[in-house]
């Protein structure tokens, strides 16, 4: 079956989720990935939204993380202070999806400013929202993004949310409880941190090459010794995505 680059991203992100995971969900593609996982291999996934909704069962695709469909039929609603403290800071969140304009060699994320001067930015972006604490405290963070050189610089202009800073030991020294960036899913393959926290190419999607991934990465991307290929999207995954989750094709 034919599939688009964004379907490939969503399906591979969904496969990273484990049944029983508590996941901090964002809107857009991560929301589709979580709902897909719940309808395939992870039926007891617990979806938490930063607006304070726990155990959502959205009946339509929400445009924002504060959509009323997330509330109707949910298990619980909490205040913002509670969702970030009782749930996230306390260590009750297994997985989160994050995004940003830049992701660097050590999985750090920039969603704040492009340019070296924070006070006089070349481009001003929305900023942290919940991501600074999510990246610090969730057990596993995943990033979904197209594989483009400008998105993968050697070093972020501004670290909005921490990956492994300048190396795994640096992050560990801060005492932040979460495990940091565990996987970056792109339209070419997967990058995962090595022992030092550096992102290396560990898998390719069908048709992609390590050369193409290296060409589209801003640092000297290492390729894992045991480079594997991801499994093709299945008919079932594509059918659920197209017919049940995104019938209007907003994210296709």
């Amino acid at each position: 079956m034919e599939y688009s680059a964004s379907e490939l991203l969503i399906i591979n992100a969904a496969r990273l989720l484990k049944d029983g995971d508590t996941v901090f969900v964002g809107v857009g593609s991560p929301n589709l990935a979580c709902n897909l996982a719940m309808r395939t291999h992870a039926p007891s996934l617990l979806m938490i939204y930063e607006a304070g909704v726990v155990g959502s069962r959205p009946s339509r695709l929400p445009l924002s993380i504060g959509d009323p469909t997330l509330v109707s039929g949910a298990a619980a609603v909490t205040s913002m202070y509670e969702i970030f403290s009782l749930y996230l800071q306390r260590g009750n969140v297994d997985v989160a999806f994050l995004g940003g304009a830049q992701i660097d060699r050590y999985g750090n994320i920039n969603a704040t400013v492009i340019g070296s001067d924070y006070q006089h930015p070349k481009v001003r972006m929305p900023g942290s929202g919940g991501s600074m604490e999510i990246a610090g405290w969730a057990n596993r963070c995943y990033i979904m993004t197209p594989h483009q050189k400008r998105r993968f610089p050697e070093k972020c202009d501004f670290v909005t949310s921490a990956g492994f800073l300048g190396g795994r030991k640096q992050r560990e020294a801060t005492g932040a409880r979460g495990g940091g960036t565990q996987c970056v899913v792109t339209d070419l393959g997967l990058m995962e941190p090595d022992g030092n926290g550096e992102l290396v190419l560990t898998a390719l999607h069908a048709g992609a090459t390590a050369e193409k991934a290296r060409e589209n990465t801003g640092w000297d991307l290492k390729v894992a010794e045991k480079l594997r290929y991801t499994e093709l999207p299945t008919e079932k995954e594509l059918r659920i995505l197209r017919e049940e989750l995104d019938p209007q094709g907003t994210y296709r």
Binding site: G28, S64, V77, M80, G127, G129
Partner: protein, 300 residues
Amino acid sequence: MTKLTTLQDAVARYVKDGDTVYAAGFTHMIPFAAGHEIIRQGRKNLTLARATPDLIYEMMVAAGCARKLIFSYVGNPGVGSLRIIRERLENGSLEWEEYSHFSMICRLQAGATGLPFMPMNQTAATDLEKANPQYRRVKDPYTGVEVVVVPPLKPDVAIVHVQRCDVEGNAQIWGIIGEQKEAAFAAEHVILTTEEIVEESVIRSDPNRTVIPAFIVDAVCHVPYASHPSYTQGYYDRDNAFYLEWDRITEDPIRVKAWLDEWVYGVKDREAYWQKLPAETRKRLQVKQRLAAPVDYGEY
């Protein structure tokens, strides 16, 4: 004692030039009607604080009400950027103070609870801490580990939209409860806008649902549909089409001015605004009922 008044009177009385304003509601029940009234009354030099400035603060910035913004996510949720605010942050014509969501909410929590600061665990990301001197660190006196702290945020006025309240201001909300309670307790003055005014007996039939008690409320304004294009859970839907439309309007300053002229300066109040919306828009935003199971408090 009734605190019922018009939104015009409440804004005239409690929102002054130069004030720090917190219009509460995380995506849900954003008090747009009050924002528009502040624009109509021509307030200047306001410090506008909100986790997500959203369209309400972008409109107020565009209308010239703001001197400074305090925020933690300056985007159009699910759509992209807030173009006007973004441009003013890039060209330096608007002051700002930036946080993460949690630290922003911790500032309100400190303000609401009367504490000198709120501690948070470290996140490993320190660039924002370095950029905003309001972030400090203190040593945990028990373990010696450093925690990040932020000072209280105490707005001059908090504006909160609610589903229902009585005439004294005992207010009940459901759905996403974001930071309304914290904003109300942190502020010097509280203005409520409400979908419905109900008898005190209705409030007392379900006291667990009361989020804001009357004694901290200054003004109660009956303003149905006050949160459009945001939404009120169970009353009307979020107008996602308008959030997308705003992105197009703000591509051009002339269109922004025309929109403000037509939809803010050109209408007297929220009733006139709502009636001016096309009938098909109002129909599209209707929601079907989904009642909660009743609870039994018991007769004691």
